[in-house]
Structures are given as C-alpha cells and as structure tokens.
C-alpha cells in the first residue's frame, strides 16, 4: 500500500508528460475529419462484408429461374442479375472476397518487401547487390501481363483465390523492398545502431528492435497505398476474366457483367453497385492514407 501511494505522489509532482510520437500522430489523425469519416466508412464496409452470411438471407449460388434481371424492389433491394441472383447479397459476399484478397496481398507484399528490403539495407555489399538486382528484375515485369499469363497457366492446377493472391503478391513486392531498403540504409548510419551492435545485439535483433520501429511509419503509409492498388488489381483482373473464378462473387466479377452491352445500357442496377463500392472503398482508403501520412509526418503541425 505504501509503495502505491508513493508512486501516486511521484506522478503528481512530475511535470505533465510530453506525448509520445504515436500519441501525437493519433491525435492529429483523429482531428482529420475526412480521414475519420473514411475510416468509419471502411470499417463499416468491412464489417458488413465479413458478416454477410448473418445479414443476408438470399442464396448466392443457386440460379433462380423465376427472377432473371429484376429491377430493384422491396424484396431484392438492388434487383437481381442475369442469373436471378440477388445483387445486394452478392455485393456483400463480393466485398468479402475483394477485401480479403486486398488485405492478404497487402500483408504478403509488406512482409516480403520488408524482409528483403531490410536485409539488403542492413547487410549491404554482395547481399544487397544480389537482392536488389533480383528486385529490379521482378520490377521489370509488366505487372498485368504477367499476372494474366501466370494465372492462365496456374488456373487449372491450383484453383481459387489463393492462386490469385500468390501471383499478385509475387509480382508486386519490389517497390516496398526498394523503399524499405533506402530507409534502412539512412537509418543504420545513426549512432544508436552502432551502440546496439557494440553491446552484442545480433543483426536480427538490431533490425527488429531498433531499425524497423523507425521505418514503421513509412511502411504503414505504403501499406494503405498498396491496399488500394491491390483491390484495383483484383477487381481489374476479375473484370477481365482472369481473376477470381467466375462463380465466386467478387466486385470485379460482378462488374464484368457490364461487358454485355444490354446490361450496361438498360440494367444499370447490376453493375452500378459494385462500381460504386469499389470506387468509394478506394476513395476512403486514399483519404486514410493521406491522413496517416500527415499524422506520421513530424514536420506537419495541424
């Protein structure tokens, strides 16, 4: 008990503690209205999409002979598509797939890019040379072309969403690796790194405990940009018919109905909902990214 009171009085005497960089960033972010609205929207979209099975009652797979291309009504909020499936239900399930692929690709790309970038940046020399030449090589592939070709080869062997995730992330980690490497290169010149090495920290520990926390803000901003572009990549590929298998609902697959002129012209309720969903999601991610960039930048005072 005595120790407790002592501690309390000590806290009371101390001058008000200055905020940590993360707390400052959090406060700046919360004050940014546009970013907060976007964040709420994104959380809402994720929430509704991932809980789709509990919210909706319509069957997404069964082809319903009686209700081809119905206009929006009280029973089908956004109408039905050409196979008689409820558009609203498919929109939620599609969001599940599209957001999941976006998140999974972002996670893979960030992890791979960070590992390769930090190893190349920290060790330098031959390792750096080898890894960066390899990164340059991966970056010279035209992304869309190779994803389509690889998907055409692999589609028959391993089916489904994971092929797409692997192919997309396998071709897009180069940019992150380059950025992380350059940040680590600049950061490792600091004296605290030398101090950490001199007291015998292993390279692994120096990278994880000392270097990565200092480049984390860059990685976070990169992750938001990537998340948006990964969703675009997935929906774009599915739209072209080289992404998720066509029977799986995804925003891109739903949008690909717009390739048929009569749907595009006369049945806008089939393709406008996924189009708006993709655009608004990306818009909100962009705003969040901008807000984070602003909040994590110590030079901006707002």
């Amino acid at each position: 008990m005595e120790i407790m009171t002592d501690k309390n009085s000590a806290v009371n005497i101390k001058p008000p503690k200055s905020m940590s960089p993360w707390a400052i960033a959090r406060r700046k972010f919360i004050r940014n209205k546009l970013a907060m609205i976007s964040l709420c929207f994104l959380v809402f979209v994720c929430f509704v999409s991932f809980l789709a099975p509990y919210i909706t009652t319509h069957d997404i797979t069964r082809i319903n002979m009686g209700s081809f291309s119905l206009e929006p009504s009280s029973e089908h909020w956004l109408g039905t598509d050409k196979n008689g499936r409820d558009v609203f239900t498919r929109l939620l399930y599609g969001g599940r797939i599209s957001l999941f692929i976006g998140l999974a690709c972002t996670a893979f790309v960030i992890v791979t890019g960070t590992i390769i970038g930090s190893i190349a940046g920290y060790f330098g020399g031959t390792i750096d040379n080898l890894l960066m030449r390899f990164t340059d090589f991966v970056l010279t592939f035209p992304f869309l072309v190779f994803v389509i070709v690889l998907n055409a080869i692999l589609q028959n062997k391993v089916s489904g969403v994971w092929v797409l995730i692997m192919v997309i992330s396998g071709l897009s980690w180069g940019g992150v690796a380059r950025i992380v490497r350059s940040k680590i290169l600049a950061e490792k010149e600091n004296e605290y790194v030398l101090a950490a090495i001199s007291i015998g920290c292993s390279p692994f520990k120096v990278i994880i405990k000392h270097l990565l926390p200092n480049v984390l803000s860059t990685i976070i901003v990169q992750a938001t940009i990537l998340f948006a572009s990964m969703i675009v990549a997935e929906t774009g590929l599915s739209f072209l018919g080289f992404g998720v298998p066509s029977e799986t609902p995804s925003w891109g697959n739903m949008l690909s109905f717009a390739n048929e002129p009569d749907v595009l012209q006369d049945k806008p309720w089939i393709w406008i909902p996924p189009a708006l969903a993709v655009t608004l999601t990306i818009l909100s991610i962009n705003f969040i990214g901008e807000g984070l960039k602003d909040a994590l930048n110590p030079k901006s005072y707002r």
Binding site: L144, V145, I148, V149, A152, L255, L264, Q265, A275, T279
Partner: protein, 321 residues
C-alpha cells in the same frame, strides 16, 4: 552523360536475356504444345502427332528449343498464329498502329489537362477553383480505369451519344480521306481520356504542390523584389522549375500505358495489341501471346531506361553512381 546512357543500355542486355528465358519457360508450362500451330488439330492419330512433334523439334532438349526460338525471334520470325493462320508479326503489325495512336492521344490529353489544371491550382491555391480541381483529382485517383471506362460508355456513349462506344473507326468511311481520320479521332478520344485519367489526376496534384512549394523559395522573392510581373514569375521562373520533374515521369508513362491499354482496349473493344493479348490468352494462341509478352516486357524495360536517362539529365548527381 554519354557514358551514363551507355551503361544503362548495357545493363539492359542481361535483363532482356533473363526475361526471354522466363517468357520461354512460361510458354513451355502452358497446357498443350506452345509455339505449335503447325499440327493439324483435327487429326488425332497419335502417330501423326508424334511425327509432327519430332519434325517441329518438340522432342529436342529444352535448351536447343530455346536457342531455336530466340534465334528466330531476334531475326523477326515470331512463329505462326494458330488462330489466324498467318505469321504472328503480321497480325501484331496490323493492330500496333491503333495502340500507338491511342497511347499518343492519351499522353497528349494527360499532359495538356495536367499542365492546365496544375498551373491554375498552383497559382491560386485554396480558392474555389483549386478545391474543385482537387475534388475531381481525388475522384480521378480513386476510379479504377475499368470503372471509369464503364461509366464513360454509359454516360457519354449511351445517354448523351457524344462518342461511339466501340471500335477504332467507322466502317462506312473510306480509308485515307479526311472523314476517315476524323472518325478515328472521334473513336479514340473517349478511351484515350479514360486511359490517361489516373495519370492526369496524379500529375495535376504533383504540379500544384510543386508550384506552391517553389513559390515560397528565395529566388521567387528576389524576382518579386526586382519588380518582375507576377505572370512572368509564374509562367517563366516557377514553371521551368516545376515542369522538369514532370518530364521524368514520361518513362513511367510508357510502363503504365502497357497495362492500361489491355484494360481500356477491352472495355471499348478497340482493336489494338492489348485486346489482341487477351484474346490470344483465351484462344491459347501461343506464338502471338509470347511475342506480345516479350514486346510488353521490352517496352517496360525501355520505359525504365527512359526514366533513368531523364533522371540523369535532370539530376546530374545520379550519373555518378
């Protein structure tokens, strides 16, 4: 500068070699006989197929097949299209001008719009005009090209009827006349705008921020103190400094156009090489597919080279390492 350029060009050669190996391996991994097309698909007699495979060299060691392919490729023999039954280069050359026309129009639209909007926003920041442009930019950055394409067709082709929704030229006009070129231009305008939308938005934003940043620098204050007119400061002093970084993006434009052309041409059913690429994947037309994949890779490599060289021109420090 010459030494730097030469070094960059030489560094491309091993990359080209590696890419050609990758493309060849991919074609080998594809189901069925790639590079084929000589075998009559109607004849299923196993003996005939085996005979043809032997004749075409599919049973040779893999490296011999690679060297035969690459030797032919370098000499301009890209194999025969299995679908169109004509040499692959003929069908590609037939579509290539359309894509070049589309890309060039798109580049011109991008730079004209970005320059006009960026300069206006940068000169009058935080005004109504600037905010309108900024809002349009945010939408432009968030609209994926295929969504933009679909909306563009829906609004401008179907509802307003301003632009045709597909094809590259009206079939009723005769080639070479003034109407023919007018029709082609009319057809290319909407896809070109959609193709350049993302770049327009990001360049506008870049130019605006750069102009605002430059307008706070000392040389601008000096110019003002000497009594230089405001329009001359913006149009000569700041413009020159802000447009230089924009020029270096030209290399990346080439890279972006490759991916963009595939999507845009498909939406607008514009007969270019992007659309040809997709149909060749669907039809398993391997010689066309491989040639196009090689072409796109070389273009990407070339785009990176252009970006590197332009960077070297703009920033002499880069030339040293």
């Amino acid at each position: 500068m010459l030494k730097y350029t030469l070094r960059r060009v030489l560094a491309m050669i091993p990359m080209l070699f590696l890419i050609s190996i990758i493309v060849f391996s991919l074609a080998k991994l594809m189901p069925g006989d790639s590079l084929g097309g000589e075998i009559d698909p109607a004849n299923t007699d196993p003996e005939y197929i085996e005979q043809m495979r032997e004749k075409l060299g599919y049973n040779d060691p893999i490296y011999e097949q690679y060297f035969r392919w690459i030797t032919n490729f370098v000499q301009g023999d890209f194999g025969k299209s299995t679908r169109y039954k004509i040499p692959a280069n003929e069908i590609i050359m037939e579509r290539l001008p359309n894509t070049i026309f589309l890309s060039l129009t798109s580049l011109i639209i991008t730079y004209v719009l970005a320059l006009a909007m960026g300069i206006y926003s940068g000169r009058k920041p935080y005004t109504l005009g600037d905010n309108t442009i900024a809002a349009a930019n945010y939408i432009g950055l968030a609209l994926p090209s295929f969504v933009a394409g679909v909306f563009a067709i829906y609004i401008f082709s179907f509802h307003l009827g301003w632009f045709p929704s597909n094809g590259s030229v009206d079939i009723s006009v005769t080639e070479g006349t003034f109407e023919y070129w007018l029709s082609r231009f009319h057809h290319v305008l909407l896809p070109a705008f959609v193709l350049g939308l993302l770049n327009t938005a990001s360049y506008t934003q870049f130019l605006r921020n750069d102009i605002i940043e430059n307008s706070r620098k000392d040389y601008v204050r000096t110019a003002r103190a000497k009594g230089t007119s405001e329009s001359k400061i913006y149009n000569v002093h700041i413009f020159r400094n802000s447009v230089i970084p924009l020029v270096t993006f030209l290399g990346f434009d080439i890279v972006n156009l490759v991916g963009g052309a595939i999507i845009t041409e498909t939406i607008f059913t514009y007969p270019g090489i992007g659309q040809l690429f997709l149909t060749s994947v669907t039809n398993r037309d391997y010689s066309v597919l491989m040639t196009l994949t090689m072409m796109f890779s070389v273009l990407t490599l070339f785009g990176n080279l252009v970006a590197d060289i332009l960077y070297g021109i703009v920033d002499p420090r880069i030339r040293l390492d």
